[in-house]
């Protein structure tokens, strides 16, 4: 029940905030958003699931499964629940939304109540995405995320907000269409072996080799087509190079809190879905095309990192670096080992926190300096020491400094993928992808040296001083979370592995 309560509460909170006076809406939204935070942490403390929610022999936590409607011969149920893969993302969503709301207090000064209402509406949809276990509800939530995001970028964004918002919406929506067609082809190919759109039933049927021929294509072909369609569909969301060009535009135009949500949580929808659909349902296809997928992963890591190196806008740097970091997730998934897939899941959370932290901190600096261009300023460390200190720590976290979450995630992925049996030439792919850790250090250190250090310089007619406390608190909290997860990855690691392990046991015809 608790999942429904939290989603419903967040929806009601969104509505209430939407109609609240602008003046109080920020504080109200924050106060209301604390309820899902507390709720999800409470769920973390009670968490007793075992196994993978989609596969046999699992016990799903906080599960509800009741019949809902019948559609085209398929039973549709309201089926939600969490396992070790989704709970960390569930917690990530609630925590990051709350902090993003606080980070909006300074920059958002028009139509504030609508802004916070949309943020909470987005949170509710995201919670739905990570907890739904029936395709119908899952897809509704999946698409519902796009709507608030479109308005958040298009209304509160920068000068080119309309272009960015439309590009984001059209690009990801076309991708959703591809994914939908691919998934439906798979479902129809399963024929009579499935009677519902329940994700566990479909996953178990495909893994048991129930996929038949459909539309004149053999089982193998239909699986390949479905895999490719879903891979591209989810890959746009991740984003995997070369489907990433919507991302920098969206990030640069989006206001800070929206960038935080976009990089911190929305990208993880893509990798989460890849794990749930492609790699859980069709592991044999993934193994067959492992080299191609690994090439996508390595290109994302290295190409994304070099693109970041060429940028002058701090937000663009972080945006491209997300492409790079998410490439590690793909590498972990395709390696198909316990530490690889587990590390990929861990990286979703770690990168969610760290990229959120980076965007938020860059936003705090932007609030003060009104510029994000590397060449426009230098020596900020002198004027805003605490913010700069946190930015430095965050940047080192991004570079994979040990005892911070990013290192744990990346190390798990590397150690998992190096010895992969599924991926041919695994050591070579791993070593190539790891070069990302050198490039990331390059672009972040260059950008920091030029903006933060040296003599203070910024052509401006307003004073540049320390940021207000409510700007600094959320980044401080995020930094502590990043360190906590780096020192004690077991906070999530055990449950992640528990849910990942059944995925790797390829049964039946797979």
């Amino acid at each position: 029940m608790i999942i429904e309560i939290l989603i419903a509460f967040t929806l009601v909170a969104a509505l209430a905030t939407f109609f609240a006076p602008d003046r109080v809406s920020g504080k109200l939204a924050f106060a209301l958003s604390l309820v899902p935070v507390v709720g999800s942490l409470y769920m973390w403390s009670l968490f007793d699931a075992s196994g993978n929610a989609l596969l046999q022999g699992s016990q799903v936590a906080f599960e509800t499964n009741m019949p809902w409607i019948s559609l085209g011969g398929y039973e549709i149920a309201w089926h939600v629940g969490l396992d070790g893969i989704s709970l960390p993302l569930f917690v990530l969503t609630t925590v990051l939304t709350s902090l993003a709301i606080v980070s909006a207090w300074t920059p958002i000064d028009t139509r504030a109540s609508q802004f916070y209402g949309l943020m909470l509406f987005m949170e509710a949809s995201l919670l739905g995405v990570f907890s739904a276990l029936d395709f119908f509800a899952w897809f509704v939530f999946w698409e519902a995320v796009l709507v608030p995001m479109y308005f958040l970028i298009g209304v509160w964004g920068g000068p080119r907000r309309k272009y960015a918002a439309i590009k984001f919406f059209v690009y990801t929506n076309v991708a959703s269409l591809a994914m939908f067609i691919g998934f439906m082809a798979l479902v129809f190919a399963l024929g009579d072996s499935v009677t519902s759109l329940g994700l566990p039933e479909i996953a178990q049927a495909t893994r048991a080799g129930e996929v038949g021929s459909y539309f004149g294509l053999g089982a193998g072909a239909i699986k390949t087509v479905a895999f490719a369609a879903m891979f591209v569909g989810f890959g746009v969301k991740v984003p995997i190079a070369p489907f990433h060009t919507w991302l920098p535009d969206a990030h640069v135009e989006a206001p800070t809190p929206v960038s935080v949500m976009l990089a911190g949580v929305l990208l993880k929808m893509g990798t989460y879905a890849l794990l749930r659909f492609n790699f859980t349902m069709l592991p044999d296809v993934a193994a067959q095309y492992a080299i191609i997928i690994a090439v996508f992963a390595v290109v994302s890591v290295i190409y994304g990192a070099f693109l970041a190196l060429a940028q002058q806008d701090l937000k663009r740097i972080v945006a491209y670096s997300s492409v790079s970091s998410m490439g590690y997730v793909i590498l972990g998934l395709v390696a198909y080992t316990l530490y690889g897939v587990g590390g990929a899941t861990f990286q979703m959370v770690a990168h969610g926190l760290i990229s959120g932290l980076m965007f938020m901190t860059v936003g705090v600096i932007y609030n003060t300096t009104h510029t994000r261009m590397v060449g426009d300023m230098s020596g900020l460390a002198d004027r805003m020491p605490v913010t700069v200190g946190i930015l430095v720590a965050a940047a080192f976290g991004y570079m994979g400094l040990p005892l911070m979450a990013g290192f744990a995630a990346e190390f798990f992925i590397f150690v998992g993928s190096f010895g992969s049996q599924t991926l041919p030439f695994a050591p070579l792919f791993t070593a190539l992808a790891m070069f990302g850790i050198v490039v990331v250090a390059g672009y972040l250190l260059f950008a920091m040296q030029r903006t933060l250090f040296g003599p203070f310089r910024l052509e401006t007619d307003y004073t540049v001083g320390p940021a207000p406390l409510h700007d600094k608190l959320p980044i401080a909290v995020l930094l502590l979370l990043v360190i906590a997860l780096g020192v004690a990855p077991e906070l999530f690691w055990g449950m992640i592995l528990d849910a990942v392990e059944p995925v790797l046991e390829t049964g039946g015809g797979a």
Binding site: L309, F411, G419, F435, V439, G454
Partner: protein, 681 residues
Amino acid sequence: MAAFDYAPVIVLLPFLSFLVAIGTAIFARGKNVLPKGGALPGIVAMAGALLLSIWMFVTVEAQGAYDQTLYTWASGPGEGTFTLTFGVLVDQLSAMMLVIVTLVSLLVHVFSLGYMNDEDETGLPRYYAGLGLFSASMLGFVVADNLLMAFMFFELVGLCSWLLIGFWFREPGPPSAAKKAFLVTRFGDYFFLIGVVAVFATFGTSQFSPIGGMEAFPVLAEEALTGSAEGINTFGFDAATWFNIVGLLVLGGVVGKSAQFPLHTWLPDAMEGPTPVSALIHAATMVAAGVFLVARMYGFYALIPTTLAIIAFIGGFTALFAATMGVVKREIKQVLAYSTISQYGYMMLALGGGGYVAATFHLMTHAFFKALLFLGAGSVIIAMHHNENMWDMGGLKERMPVTYYTFLSGSLALAGIFPFAGFWSKDEVLYETLVHGLGGSPLLLAAYAMGLLAVFFTGFYTFRMVLLTFHGEPRSETARNPHGVRWNVKGPLVVLGVLAATAGFANLVPVEKLTGANVDFLHDWLYHGPETLNGEHYSTLLHDVAGYTAADFSVLISAAVSLGMALAGVGLAWMLYNDPSPEEHTAKLGAVKDLWYHNYYQDEFQVWLAETGGLGIARGSDKFDQGVVDGVVNGVSSVSLFSGSRVKRVQTGVVSNYAALLTLGVVVLMVALGLYGGWFL
């Protein structure tokens, strides 16, 4: 085993001083809350850590080594997964290193009172926070009982070097030097991390020594080579080949941190940091970390002679290469920087040459005399109002006698003059390489020759530095009236001055050979220890697996040759520079001087590589991304917009047009259906 329960406290104490100082820096900025800006908590913490380390040292002597897993960082279920842990390994090697690190760090803290506090520097809590974290990271690295933990602290050491080298962030130079130091070492660490991952993928564990249920990877490697190990994945290679690859990957990190060719370029730039930090980086932390790592996993390296030969060759080459550059430098700290690179080259030479004890011995003596020389240089820099150019100095001997005599002690040790510390250790380095080279490894002989030649250059640049700085007539107004230094500068100098003169007595191998007295204490110390982590085990491995044999050669002749080279270098410096107003004799070297002064254009080359290589690829990728990848995306949208705009012309809004189209449509439809249905046949 009560004493060893306190081993983690050695790491935690400086970490605590870091927390105190950084907390003050954040929450009480500009207020003078901490006594001496954080120096006192740091000094107390380091003194405590030093006492504990000595206690560990004594306990290891009495009870033997200690290895304990303290914390499971991450683990997987069942067989075939990895257990990633933090553990403390206090054995003969790490106990010795603990004492060195804590002692040098304590002295650096005390010296900082004179160098930073007395000079009214700002940001002191941040400075002492950096020192605390630096010491804690290094100590954590030293006691690490597995390769992953070692890597993690190794990286933290890198972070601290960035923080401290860039301490004076308001100037343009230090942040740039800090960035370079981190990036160059990061490049090495990239290979190291692949190595760590490869060790896990190969052996399933990265323990240095077997503990509990966990096996040790050097032991597994040894078994694999002697033909009795199972479950080792060598990725389709022959075991020996694969181990060489892994060994070389890990070596990448060593070459970066220990500033060996070609990743040495960060170190001279790192002189932008405060001088006490340079002392810490060069003597006891960071740079020492690389060499210590090879010593720590010597049980693995001793199995792979190809890698050993490469290590020796890199070491010998670096020793000579860096020493030549030291000959022409004008700044006192630059000379010391190149001497550090050169001296670590000797340690690498020893490790590659089969001289485990020799390398560790030189690591110890170098820690003392290099810390001394940097702190002495720091004292001179205070006196000279932060002018570091030796050509502005001269005649400081009479004006600062404590600094002079201690600096002289360190210089004699660095040059390798009997009976100072460096003589004994450097001699042993060269001797071990020579005998193993003569025993059938010709590559080692080449490395030895370079190392031996470097002795001459070392003697020369060291005494060029001493003579230019302290002798002759003062060549500037500040040199005539230097700024005085206090006890907090002189105290550490005296302690280290005594150690630089006497630390060599820890291992008097030539004396033992001559008199038969059992005075090679360090040798005996390191030959005891855990079963697979002691010098005796390593020498067995070297002999049995790597095929190293020691030729019979008199240590006395070797010592005499190297001492002769050193004296020749010192003598030449004396001839040229012991002059009231010396000339720039090195200018006579012409093009060679330019080459040396510009560091063989290595910096230019690497900057070129980073800019045209790295930034070039980045800019090209960006153009490609904007033009091609995003171009296609925008192209697709333009195509649909364009076709939409054309198709919409059908909607003219004129009723008669619609009527005409409608009629036309009906006619076409009827004709088509008629044809299909066969009406016209």
